[in-house]
Symmetry: C2
Subunit: 351 residues, 2 copies
């Protein structure tokens, strides 16, 4: 007889905070750079092109004692019925016995761990005196990126928000982002007043929508991209020395957010060399022969461990190319399961 813990979206929203996600993703990155993670083949199926698809990403993290998967579906028509378009779940299993351990909502963990991933890349690579962030893309993922970045960085004064689809989206985003940061991220630290107060100050800064991306890129110290773009929006000539780019959008063949020539001048780091070279932002520069897999400095896990210094000077352009690892979900889920076992949230059921 097996007992598993079911952890709902509501539980996750109440109990998983961005610090948990950062801890889990840093652990993942270190394990990944130590070759301690095995990812299995992804299963992908297009139910109806452009309308509905699903994928199953699975893998094992022997050192963490778990294996498991995340199944995520995208059903575009759900929006018409007021339902979420992205649904799915994560399951964890005991690596020693194969027994199922936990079933968790997938979309809420994905949002947090992706925000954490971007924030970590920037924390280790951007100039310490960075003050201005340009957020490219005002979609679902943008609040997570901003929440993680502002939490992990000190001294940020201003965030510019650009949306390629419409300036109005960027305007609307800037009008509501503070409330969102307070409600969805800050509130989860209510039990830690000192951290809460520090974070509140970090979240209480200027958010400016921008229409002219070239001008915004020229000012930005840090650029985050999180869009489904298939053509470059940011040109190499616009970048000032010392800029850091965190590219989160490209996670499958054909996606591209930035000028491929940026790869000829940047110091490039990734979450996973094999994966990003095939499906990350660097896929196209590699295919065009502008960049080689061997030009990658290293996986970010080595920078986290101190085995690589990351940025070498304030004049360099640095780039973090992340296409996401299922192990981030598994380890974040494991972190949350430990918390749930301690604090008894979620529901334990017999399976």
């Amino acid at each position: 007889m097996n007992k598993i813990r079911v952890i709902s979206k509501k539980d996750i929203e109440a109990h998983l905070n961005m610090l948990d996600a950062v801890r889990a993703v840093e652990e993942t990155y270190v394990l990944n750079s130590e070759k301690e993670i095995v990812l299995f083949d992804t299963v992908f199926y297009d139910f109806e092109e452009g309308k509905a698809d699903m994928d199953i990403k699975s893998g094992t993290v022997d050192k963490a004692g778990i294996f498991g998967f995340k199944l995520m579906s995208w059903f575009g028509e759900n929006a018409k019925n007021g339902m979420e378009t992205l649904v799915g779940n994560i399951m964890l299993y005991d690596r020693k016995t194969g027994s199922p351990l936990a079933l968790l909502d997938g979309s809420s963990i994905t949002g947090m761990r992706t925000g954490a991933a971007g924030g970590i890349g920037t924390k280790y690579l951007a100039r310490k005196n960075s003050e201005e962030i340009l957020m490219v893309g005002a979609g679902n993922q943008a609040p997570y990126q901003i929440a993680a970045h502002l939490m992990l960085l000190d001294g940020i004064k201003r965030v510019y928000v650009y949306d390629a689809m419409s300036y109005e989206s960027a305007v609307k985003f800037c009008e509501t982002i503070k409330e969102k940061l307070f409600n969805d991220f800050l509130s989860r630290f209510a039990d830690n007043p000192q951290f809460f107060n520090e974070l509140m100050k970090k979240y209480d800064i200027e958010f400016n929508p921008v229409d002219d991306i070239e001008n915004a890129v020229k000012k930005a110290d840090i650029i985050i991209t999180a869009t489904p773009s298939r053509k470059p929006m940011i040109m190499k000539e616009w970048l000032k020395p010392g800029t850091h780019l965190t590219c989160m959008g490209a996670d499958m063949v054909g996606k591209q957010e930035i000028d491929e020539n940026i790869f000829t001048v940047a110091r490039v780091f990734t979450d996973d060399i094999e994966k990003t070279s095939k499906t990350g932002e660097m896929e196209i520069p590699i295919k065009k022969g502008l960049f080689l897999k061997s030009d990658i400095i290293c996986e970010i896990g080595k920078v986290i461990k101190g085995e690589n210094p990351g940025r070498l000077s304030d004049n360099e352009i640095t780039l973090f190319d992340a296409s996401g690892l299922a192990a981030q979900d598994l380890i974040t889920a494991k972190e949350l399961l430990s918390k749930a076992n301690q604090n008894n949230f979620g529901v334990v059921v017999e399976l």
Copy 2:
């Protein structure tokens, strides 16, 4: 917010009976022969060769309104700790919205649907005047095969049981099988006294262990194989005219239970042409050039629908080669979920 129903092994053992499984598997076979089932690529991972592995089999059955997967692990060392070696689960999702519908224990459904599959193949292909069955293999799957066969066939008088590993296993199996049939299969029909009484008579027959497989094959009207064998145990010369074989063991490359020459004389049916030609009992005869994929008469679904007569005379040798479809699990799970929604077993939890 999603609500899903969790249906435990205990629930399944109390509520899923062999008739439900037969109904679900017949539905699967018909849908499969109508090309209404899409199976995705299988994910397989060997944690430690010969000690632990896992696979994820997934697919969609649009006509049944569901998609989903079965994840099964085998952890050989579990036996030492008194735990089951085969563990895993099935999950169903709504094909219209992607929402998760149910989480079910996997091993108990697998056992039932595999028993049902074998019984169905034999029901449609064996001579109606068959009286003697030879069960080859006295492992986990044998009771399921026997339970389904005796339920679906009329006039069976005797079951011979052969185990290639040890005669003692066959003896022990025959000593305990009736109790097992009564406790694990018959008891689930307590609410249907007429069917219960008929089935009790069908289960209350002779079970004889055999040491000499050649002699048993010569007598048998029906031969069921359910072993992990990698070399033939049954030779073509031993078969009498009119024999039917249901081969359940071969489900991956390299497995073989019967003489490949049997394929040169038998009328051969399968659960799925593509799958059995690659991983079923026919894999080796095809590779040796003794049998062609085009020699397959048809998928059993066409026989169930009446589009193919199946057996043509009492003198023919017929063969049902089944290597199993994940859709059998999904549709059996769906059948059980409907029953659970009606009779309110299992636990509904928020996800």
